[in-house]
């Protein structure tokens, strides 16, 4: 099937089998390898992308379902060539170690702070509870998202 997905603001037309998962199309057809795969059971969340602005697991969505819709991946987080505040905050607060869950965590975090500019620790932990991290114990991920919220608040 021929489908067209807007990815990070650019329309991409690809011919795919219906069974192809969105994550595979992003990674192997469009070369956007910042979206990762970590499990087979919709449990880990490292494949998270934004579908029309909403965080979803791209391993549990066929690419054909995204036909005509807008997808945002980690590669689309930068704004006018500058790091998104969530990206800067993850580095500043040591919110990552191996980096494998990081794109997903940042995408979820970026949506949270848009919807809730002043999230509590519980708000943040709840928001990222569909995303596993094996390295950080989540402490610095929570800090990074909080820092990003503060950065955005301070600049607006």
């Amino acid at each position: 099937m021929e489908i067209t997905i807007s990815v990070n603001g650019t329309d991409n037309t690809v011919d795919v089998e219906p069974r192809m998962l969105l994550v595979d199309v992003l990674r192997t057809r469009l070369g956007l390898t910042g979206t990762h795969i970590g499990c087979d059971t919709t449990s880990c969340g490292v494949c998270t992308v934004l579908l029309d602005g909403t965080p979803v697991k791209s391993c549990t969505l066929f690419a054909v379902q995204a036909d005509g819709r807008a997808v945002k991946t980690v590669e689309g987080l930068k704004q006018n060539g500058d790091l998104h505040p969530i990206q800067a905050a993850f580095k500043e607060a040591h919110g990552l170690q191996c980096g494998y869950c990081t794109p997903a965590m940042m995408l979820v975090g970026s949506v949270l702070i848009e919807e809730n500019p002043d999230p509590s620790e519980d708000d943040i932990r709840w928001a990222i509870s569909g995303n596993l991290c094996r390295c950080t114990g989540y402490i610095n991920i929570v800090k990074a998202i909080r820092l990003a919220a503060e950065t955005v608040a301070a600049s607006s």
Partner: protein
């Protein structure tokens, strides 16, 4: 969250970023932009995709394998079986413990998930379709699903492939002094006993294991991209297994999405993909699914432990006796030093001073996956620390003493270091009581005990658990430690370029620990070159010096020391060049970070950058040009990080659920190179310790089916369940490490499980509960309450 201040002021400026600075991680720039380069991100021209066919049964004879339907499928290029590999002498391979392991099964399958065949296709979806079409005819055999079963006299022999193998014993090993220990027990007032199973666990890094093997049919050059914590050791193993000349093998371990010990062994998939690439003349990619990762690659723990502590009525420990049976799975594939078959378990004497200990261990083959990796643990130190910390807690209850007080009465004292342990270790340095006092202050121990007394009166359950652990890491001195004969030194190679920017090449390999920053900081400390001017290269065997890799918290103790030493070599040469530039004698120069000046005339100075330029443009006559060196560091001793953790839990007696109210962790890992990164390592370890104590384990049913084969059953906690940790630190430098560092990657995984479990037991100690095996699941707690109800 509290973090106490770092004890030593840095000697470098923040711009230089030497030891003690929270330099933001250099590697993060690529990760936060989605530009990491993990194994599955690698795409080569003409690359094929491999999917493994695995046994659904735990134990069975293979009657036949029919590959015809798979081969007929459009897009399938080849189907590989063990029989075909046998033609290349590749059906079996050596393990890191000197046993053999089937690459693809030829005679029998010996665990559920064992590799039986491989389908190679142009597309991974098609390879998966093909795998479904491979028909294997199995004759089921009885499965042995625990080691006690395996030790029964009439148990079937799992390893009938081994000549003359008449039982299921994989190894037997002991440490310490049986006679002295028996004497200690004879004089004891009390003997406190615990029997517990440290369950099978799995490191399960979020990135699974994988390989892209690219063997050139023209040159014979094998470039093997691999999720490897130890690329050099793996290259040597490949040379031995595949018979390829070692110089024609290049292992590249790209960005690794977590390892925790899982990426130390060589797995059958790596070998099959490489063989297939050799035969097919095209690159072959194999990436595990999560289920494959959990059911077939390196598990950890699975020790049945019986510990006995001999104590006096006054609360002094006299001796320790431990007997263990370990479940090795179908092949003895532990990753650990050759001479110590139960790893470093004999650190089990812990932080306490007593004269006698004796440890016996028997490893048993079962119909389960092989592995026995050190999961965020220095070779069985986790099991050891857990056992002794559970024992001392129970000893305190039996003697009617406070568990903190009991520990303090038995701690090795600061003036006893270097301390010779009864099992043969020489602890380098420590100050255990200070760390425990700090943890007790931070958590408000006395107040909590008072609250607990009130809570019990009200029928509310809360508990306070302590663990005061001592680790042994940094393997290790070459006289004692090797893997497959390869001595466990490690290396660093450093070149400073004419403009003063440096490249540092390491034999170790990060999986998220931040080597690209931390090791640059060591160079910054030693040479005054800003850490951000140092590029760290690792994970490529063609471009780094030989080393044994990153696991067992060994990178800082070994390669960190090598980095210091090679930097100092360069500084010595720099002094000669500086003397030449300043027209002074080298002895008259003084070094202050980043520059030499003539003693007494500080204005007469040259920077390290100027010296570097001169090394290539104006070096002294008769001297070799350049500013470059290599160092292979053979540590004189292991390092012994320690700490005290305290956990407070609240327990729901209705459901048996327990929640961590507070968790305080005071760690002493010697000098901290990058405190921010050290804290991050501790956070991660505390979370994994929580996981093991609370929910994470792999078990099997009676037929040998793996329960825990995916992330719906093998539970990794989310941010919601994970406790909020509060950290403290003390700094007791290692006296023998060039910068006094000890290693920290695993302290928290080693130390914390006992703290969590002790807290739950403490909540129930007053009704007589003394043990609940890990994971301390709600139903087990509920059952323990039932069993001890009045």
């Amino acid at each position: 969250m509290t973090t106490t201040q770092h004890h030593h002021a840095p000697i470098t400026t923040p711009e230089v970023g030497g030891i003690g600075h929270n330099v933001r991680r250099i590697e993060d720039d690529r990760f936060i932009q989605g530009a990491g380069n993990y194994l599955d991100d690698i795409v080569l021209p003409r690359m094929l995709h491999m999917v493994l066919v695995r046994s659904p049964l735990a134990h069975a004879t293979i009657n036949s394998i029919d590959t015809s339907a798979a081969e007929a499928l459009d897009g399938v290029v080849a189907v590989v079986t063990g029989e075909m590999l046998a033609g290349y002498n590749l059906a079996w391979m050596p393990t890191l413990s000197g046993d053999t392991q089937a690459v693809l099964a030829t005679d029998k399958v010996r665990f559920q998930g064992q590799e039986v065949a491989a389908v190679i296709a142009t597309d991974p979806y098609v390879a998966r379709d093909g795998a479904e079409l491979v028909m294997v005819d199995y004759e089921p055999l009885d499965a042995i699903v625990n080691p006690m079963q395996g030790l029964e006299p009439d148990a079937p022999i799992i390893r009938d492939d081994l000549e003359d193998k008449a039982d299921n014993v994989a190894y037997e090993w002991e440490a310490g002094d049986a006679g002295a220990t028996a004497e200690a027990f004879a004089t004891a007032d009390r003997v406190v006993t615990i029997e517990t199973h440290y369950p099978r666990s799995h490191p399960s890094p979020l990135e699974t294991c994988g390989v892209v093997a690219d063997v050139s049919p023209v040159t014979g050059q094998a470039t093997i991209y691999m999720t490897s914590q130890a690329p050099h050791a793996h290259r040597t193993v490949f040379a031995l297994v595949a018979g390829l000349p070692e110089h024609n093998i290049r292992i590249i371990s790209p960005d690794v999405g977590g390892g925790f010990g899982n990426k130390v062994p060589v797995y059958p998939g790596y070998v099959v993909a490489t063989a297939a690439s050799l035969v097919l003349g095209a690159p072959v990619k194999w990436v595990e699914t999560r289920t494959e990762n959990l059911i077939s690659t390196g598990f950890a723990r699975d020790y049945y432990m019986k510990g006995e502590l001999a104590v006096t009525a006054e609360g002094k420990i006299l001796g320790l006796r431990v007997d263990m049976v370990s479940d090795q799975g179908a092949f003895y594939a532990d990753a650990q030093p050759t001479k110590t078959r139960a790893g470093l378990f004999h650190i089990v004497t812990g932080s306490y001073d007593y004269p006698a200990a004796h440890v016996t261990t028997k490893g048993v083959y079962t119909n389960k996956a092989p592995g026995g990796v050190a999961y965020r643990c220095s070779f069985r130190v986790t099991e050891a620390s857990f056992l002794i910390e559970r024992l001392v807690q129970n000893a305190a209850y039996e003697l009617g003493m406070d568990p903190a007080e009991f520990r303090k009465r038995n701690f090795i004292q600061p003036d006893q270091f270097p301390y010779h342990s009864p099992t043969g270790f020489v602890y380098d340095s420590g100050d255990y009581e200070t760390a425990l006092d700090m943890a007790m202050d931070m958590i408000g121990y006395e107040k909590l005990r008072a609250e607990q007394a009130r809570a019990r009166a009200e029928g509310r359950l809360m508990g306070i658990g302590i663990a005061s652990f001592t680790e042994v890491v940094g393997a290790g001195p070459s006289g004692e430690y090797d893997i497959l004969g390869l001595k466990m030194f490690d290396s660093a190679e450093l070149r400073v370029h004419p403009t003063g920017k440096a490249i540092l090449k390491l034999g170790v390999k990060t999986q998220g620990q931040g080597h690209e920053t931390t090791f640059a900081q060591i160079v910054a400390e030693e040479l005054g070159i800003p850490a951000t001017d140092v590029k760290v290269v690792h994970g490529d065997t063609d471009n780094t010096p030989y080393g044994l890799g990153t696991y067992a918290s060994r990178s800082t103790p070994t390669a960190g020391a090598a980095t210091s030493m090679v930097s100092r070599k360069l500084r010595s040469k720099a002094r000669e060049i500086a003397a030449h530039l300043l027209e002074a004698s080298p002895e008259d120069l003084e070094w202050e970070v980043g520059a030499f000046h003539v003693r007494g005339s500080p204005e007469s100075s040259v920077t390290i950058q100027e010296v570097a330029f001169a090394a290539y443009t104006n070096h002294p006559p008769g001297m070799e040009a350049g500013l470059e060196g290599v160092h292979y560091y053979d540590p004189p001793n292991m390092t012994y990080p320690f700490g005290s953790y305290i956990v407070v839990v609240d327990l729901d007696s209705g459901t048996g659920e327990w929640k961590v109210r507070r968790m305080v962790a005071v760690d002493d890992c010697g000098v901290r190179i990058n405190p921010m990164i050290v804290d991050g390592q501790i956070h991660g370890g505390l979370a994994e310790g929580f996981a093991m104590s609370n929910m994470q384990w792999i078990t099997f049913d009676e037929a040998g089916n793996c329960i825990g084969s995916n992330f719906m059953d093998y539970l990794v906690p989310t941010a919601w369940e994970t406790p909020r940790f509060e950290l403290g630190e003390t700094v007791t430098p290692s006296p023998h490490h060039p910068i006094g560092a000890k290693g920290v990657g695993e302290s928290a995984t080693v130390g914390s499980p006992a703290a969590y479990v002790n807290a739950v037991i403490d909540a129930l100690a007053h009704i007589g509960v003394r043990n609940i095996d890990m994971p301390v699941l709600p139903d087990r707690v509920w059952q323990a309450i039932r069993d001890h109800a009045e």
